[in-house]
Symmetry: C2
Subunit: 191 residues, 2 copies
DNA sequence: TCAATACTGGATTGATCAATCCATAAATCT
DNA sequence: AGATTTATGGATTGATCAATCCAGTATTGA
């Protein structure tokens, strides 16, 4: 009954994610988006409604790609400690490879905390990270990987906070020596 | 020989700092600035040159107000541990009182890391925080406040990173319970 | 084959952007 | 006082902003 969409919506959200991730929300113009997505503004608005809604989809896409992977890796890990170290180092490595991006969740938290949708999404992501780490540490404790005197819930809050800081340091180009040393120190809190 | 400036430049920078701090760089319009500063755009450009330069002054003002105070408090502290806890809790408290602002250094790092001047300033601030904490921990170790098996340089990197994360969590409205617990866990790394 | 429908992207909209201009006003020097 | 110089702030500039419009096009069911 009607013409088919010529572009791939999923791919378009991926590309929008990349642009917003690098440039932030306010500094990204509609022209930036249409040229990155390879579509006209009419198509963009027909498909996504507004720049804000597209940002929301891009942020959700980022979360499902990254936070979800962190969760999966920690929950499927045989040994919690090396898995946690691997997760931390993977983030540090991501920032070393491409500091222009940093962590989109952190970028969203700092740039768009005043937007209720963004704030809610960021909050949910951080809670997910916290509870995943807490769960992993509880399992570690049961299995004797973590001594009984440790407090998994509290350590999870420390590590969740540390992760956000690690992304800030990465974006600020703190350098490999710094972030690796910081991760070492963070892992030592589990000893 | 010439007319005097009618507004107080220092006060104007303070006000610009507050606006940029809350809204970020890109989302702050010149109209936001002129109305907050109470001056016309002609005066603004005559005094500061451009929006970017005013932002640079505002960021420098923020640093000299905040990072410098952190340095002073840690260096004048009789006991390092309670001073460090006080510094961490003061930051957490600042975000609990006014989460719209967060930490301007973190905001600058995430929004404007691509600007060389901003990046350099942020980097210098973070190095100052790191070396101040490292120095304080070294003194603590000499005085027996910190056991000899600890590595002050590494702990300083952990704590510097933790601080940035704490500000992100604060801006994301993680709540008092969360940040206090995280600070407790962070302080425990010194035990 | 022909309506009906939805997608296309470039043109257009009115608002807003950072920055400059400029007539006026105040301050200092001779 | 008169000349010179700088500050003032509102008007103006041309660019750019997000969003809408629309003529043209592809797709489908009848």
């Amino acid at each position: 009954m009607a013409r088919k969409r010529e572009f791939d919506v999923d791919q378009a959200v991926d590309r929008a994610m990349d642009v917003f991730w690098r440039r932030g929300y306010a500094a990204t113009s509609l022209q930036d988006l249409t040229s990155a997505l390879g579509i006209g503004s009419g198509s963009l608005y027909a498909a996504f409604g507004s720049k804000e809604k597209l940002y929301g989809l891009a942020l959700a896409r980022y979360t499902s790609r990254n936070a979800a992977q962190l969760v999966a890796e920690l929950e499927s890990a045989k040994e919690v400690r090396p898995a946690l170290r691997a997760v931390l180092m993977a983030m540090a490595e991501a920032d070393l490879c491409d500091p222009d991006r940093g962590c989109m969740t952190v970028n969203a938290a700092t740039e768009r905390a005043d937007d209720p949708d963004t704030a809610a999404h960021v909050s949910a992501t951080l809670k997910l990270v916290e509870s995943t780490i807490a769960g992993a540490l509880e399992r570690a404790q049961v299995r004797g990987e973590l001594t009984a005197d440790k407090n998994p819930a509290e350590l999870a809050r420390l590590l969740t906070t540390f992760i956000q800081g690690l992304r800030v340091m990465g974006k600020a180009r703190a350098g490999r020596e710094f972030v690796e040393s910081a991760v070492d120190a963070a892992m030592r809190t589990l000893d």
